[in-house]
Every structure is written in C-alpha cells, then in structure tokens.
C-alpha cells in the first residue's frame, strides 16, 4: 500500500473514530454517575439523525435541522432518564440494565412503526460532501470537518467537567451521590445534565454517521452503539478522555485492517468486539480507567 492511500485511510479512520468517540462519551458519563451501561444510547444517536433528516425534509436548512436533531435527542435522553431510570435509582443495577435494553427496543420499534424500516437517503449539503484533493489524495471535506468538530467538542466537555461547578458536581457524583446531596445539590438535576450532554453528543455522532454513510434507518444505532460501547470500555469506562482515545483507536483499526487486509473486510465489525474481549481479559479498567470505586472522569 503506498503512502497516499495510507494517509487517506488514516484520515478516514479519524473520521470514523470521531463518531465512536462522540457516542462513547455518553456511555462513559452515564456509567460514571449511574453505574449503568445505557444500552439505549445508540438509539439516541439514531433519534438525532432521524430528527435531522425530517427537519431537512420539512424544508429546514441542514444547520437548523441538525440543531433540531441535537436538541430533540437531548430531550429524548432526558425523558428516558426521567421516565425510565429515575424511578429505579434505589433498585438493583440489573433492573436498570434491563430497563435500558427495554428502552432501546422501544425506540427502535417506535421509529420503525412511525417511519418504516427502509433506509432513507441522507442528503448533506454540498459544502460538506464536496471532494477535494491534496496531491493524489481525494477526500470529502467531511472527513476533515468531523474530527475537527469532535476535538472542539471534547475540549468543551472537558472544560465543563473541570472548570464549572456543574462539571465538578458530575465528577463528585461519580464518586459519591449521597455526599453530593449533602452539599445541597439536586443530584437528579446533575444526572439530567449528564443525559443532556451525552445525548446531544450522540446526536452529533449520528449526524456525522448519516453524512458519511449517507443513509439512515431505525436500527442504525445498534451496531454503532455497541462499537462505541466497546470504545468506551477500551478507553476505560468512566473516563471521558479515555472514551475519545478508545473511539479513535477503534476507528483507525477498523479502517486500516480493511485497507491492509481487504480479504478480512467482511469481518470489520468483529474487530471492535475482539478488542472488547481482549481488554476485558487483560486490562478490565481500560486505557485511562481507574479502580471503579475511586474517582472517575
């Protein structure tokens, strides 16, 4: 493989990794505060992409439609917490997990019933999909835009977590919910903020996905969601930075494996889970992860 193709694949990997990273942040943050693997999270990404699609269908510009998708997904995320998870705060964690799977099925089937299972073509504006070239490398602009926006978003999330009182409360909550309440802080409100941030980021990931693979369907969040979950575990569940690192590693690996060994292309989805198994076997806390009963984020 020559250098140009390698570079091209590297950039593609960064773009794919960005999507995993954005979705993985939500997994990791929700896990941090609730010790819940929110299996409905991949479907929130689907909701974001669908709302954007319908926003554009009804005549909104792409930017406004994307905003609608992001805000809509954040609201759906907050509602799942409010309706499904909050009543189970004191219940065993397994009840919470089963509920999350239930929410996942609910969202997938709701969107299938409402909008049909047939994939819909997603038409991103030309300034995003336009192909440009540097030397021999031909790339759509989106593969540059996506990782750039992802890194900016990561910086914003880290700023919120480390420099604002709400971010500090999120980190404190990951350590000790009862003591957070003793500070006069409404823990449910902090958890709501976590669902809001996580869901908004998942929606952005979903929109990026729709731009890159220009079609969407109600089950699009299943496999991407699972891979983002693998990325979160790889990076160290509970760590936002870890989730981003895990996402990029997964993105690069997936693209490069296919580029280097085209005959393995059919197995590309298996790599994420192969990674997941390796991490669970040899370093269950992941790259950035810490002992689960100590601090996270």
């Amino acid at each position: 493989m020559d250098m140009q193709i390698f570079l091209q694949q590297l950039i593609n990997g960064a773009s794919l990794g960005s999507m995993y990273a954005l979705i993985a942040i939500g997994y990791t943050m929700v896990y941090g505060v609730l010790r819940l693997i929110n299996f409905a999270h991949g479907d929130i990404m689907m909701v974001g992409a669908f709302l954007t699609y319908f926003g554009m269908e009804s005549g909104l510009s792409f930017e406004l439609a994307a905003l609608l998708g992001i805000i809509g997904a954040a609201i759906v995320g907050i509602l799942t917490d409010r309706i499904a998870y909050r009543p189970l705060r004191d219940a065993p964690k397994i009840s919470l997990l089963i509920t999350a799977i239930g929410i996942s099925f609910f969202l997938e089937n709701l969107f299938t019933v409402l909008f049909g299972a047939t994939p819909k073509a997603f038409k991103a504006p030309e300034y995003i999909t336009k192909v440009f070239h540097i030397g021999e490398i031909y790339l759509p602009i989106s593969v540059i835009i996506i990782p750039t926006i992802t890194l900016i978003i990561l910086a914003i999330v880290l700023y919120i977590l480390y420099k604002t009182k709400y971010g500090m409360a999120i980190r404190a909550l990951a350590f000790d919910i009862k003591t957070v309440k003793l500070m006069g802080i409404d823990a449910d409100k902090i958890i709501m903020i976590v669902f809001m941030i996580g869901s908004a980021l998942a929606a952005i990931g979903g929109i990026f996905y729709a731009i890159s693979y220009p079609s969407i369907d109600p089950l699009m969040g299943v496999i991407v969601g699972l891979k983002a979950f693998a990325a979160a575990v790889l990076g160290g569940i509970g760590s936002v930075t870890g989730a981003v690192i895990g996402g990029f590693i997964l993105g690069f690996t997936e693209i490069l494996v296919v580029a280097l060994f085209p005959e393995l292309g059919g197995y590309k989805d298996a790599f994420a889970f192969f990674f997941l198994i390796l991490v669970l076997l040899f370093k269950p806390t992941g790259i950035m992860g810490q002992d689960l009963e100590r601090g996270r984020f």
Binding site: K165, A169, F175, D176, K178, L182, M183, G184, R294, G295
Partner: protein
C-alpha cells in the same frame, strides 16, 4: 431549632432506630452517644432523609419529615458525614466549591474565611482531597459544610480514627462553631463529647435510654460504667 419525634428507621427486617425523640435548642451543643451499631448514624441520616424513615422532624419551625435531602441542606441544616466523605477525586478547593454550590456570590469570601481558619487547607488547596491526612480531611469536611452557611450543623463521629492531638483541635473548632450555630454531635468518644456538650442523649439498640444535662451524664454511674471506661 431541631425537633425529632418518634423517629423509626428500618433496614429490611432490622430496626436500626426504634422511635426516638430528641431536641436541639438554639445556642446548644447536643450530643448523641452510644456504642457501635446503636443507631447514631442512622438517626442523623434519617433526619436529612438520606435513608428511609418514619416519624416527624421539624427544623426552624418547618416540618421537614418529607423534604428532600438537598432541600433540607439548602434550608440550613448541614451534616458532616461519618468517615468525612471528602470527594477524593476533587481538589481541596473544588471540595469547598461543592460546599458552596448554592452560595456562588459568597464563594470567594467564604473560601478566604475557611483558609484563615484552616491554614493547612490553604497550603494544599490544589491537591486532591484523597491525598490529605485524616485530620486534614476532617477539617475539610467541616469547612465544606460551612461553605453552605448552615444555620445548624450535625457532625457524625468527627474524632473517628484521628490522633488524640488532632481530636483536641477538632473539638476546639466545634466549641468555636457552637458560639454561632447549634450543633448536634454524634460521638463514640463519649467523654470528650459530654465535656463540651450542654445536653446529652444515650442511644442503645435504637432507643434512647437516658437523657440529661451533659454534666449530669458525666457523673452518672451507668454512663460511666458503659461509655466512659469506669
């Protein structure tokens, strides 16, 4: 200031607290003493609704029996929990910031007050809470609670696991605080607690078996035999 009536806490089939009454008046230090497992911590947690309970609790003339924990704290009843519960993954200053979560305007001013009162916290302001010694963590836990400008403070075993010299410092701080706000002090170290308190309750198996002026309890034969080592 604080009135508790017929407080009951059950964990499954176990009755941790079996219907106790207690009262803390303005200007008082009241102590609740008793052996391990007598129900002291459960009582404090139940007052702020951190655990399920039944019974009546009144703070500052308001019924707070069903009020949520964070709202009780916002009303001015603060609890320094057992084991200090410092956020070990946050810095000292961030811990103080959490204490002042609803006190944004006064944060800087209160912070300086705390650093003056606890100079060692100032030296370690940017260190993680988990790196502090037990005594420093207790100071931080008290300072963090004070950042919310409470109207009354409850302290759960502030002397637990501390060196005798540090215990003395902590009790000095409690005496100092009691000049401005009433204090409900839970202690296993009954002697030290009764010496600084105005009034005391003895808790046994979730029931109050004895209550009197602290000075009288110090002289009481039964209390001496059970809690003061003869």
């Amino acid at each position: 200031m604080l009135k508790v009536k017929n407080l009951v806490v059950k964990y499954g089939v176990i009755n941790a607290v079996r219907g106790i009454d207690l009262e803390v008046k303005k200007g008082e230090i009241v102590t609740l003493i008793g052996a391990n497992g007598a129900g002291k911590t459960s009582t404090l947690n139940a007052i702020v609704n951190l655990v399920k309970k039944s019974g009546y609790v009144e703070f500052n003339g308001v019924d707070i029996s069903k009020t949520k924990t964070h709202q009780i704290v916002q009303m001015g009843l603060s609890l320094v929990p057992e084991g200090r519960r410092i956020f070990i993954n946050l810095t000292v200053e961030e811990n103080l910031r959490m204490g002042a979560f609803n006190n944004d305007d006064k944060f800087e001013e209160l912070k300086e007050q705390m650093y003056n009162r606890f100079p060692r916290l100032k030296d370690k302001r940017n260190q993680l809470g988990g790196t502090l010694s037990g005594g420093e963590q207790q100071m931080l836990a008290i300072a963090r609670a004070l950042m919310g400008t409470p109207k009354m403070l409850m302290l759960d075993e502030p002397s637990l696991g501390l060196a005798p010299k540090i215990i003395g410092e902590v009790f000095d701080i409690i005496i100092e605080l009691s000049k401005t706000i009433p204090i409900l002090l839970v202690e296993q170290n009954a002697f030290a607690a009764l010496k600084i308190a105005d009034y005391g309750y003895v808790l046994e198996n979730g029931q109050i078996t004895l209550q009197d002026k602290a000075s009288n309890l110090l002289g009481n034969d039964e209390v001496r035999a059970k809690y003061l080592g003869g």
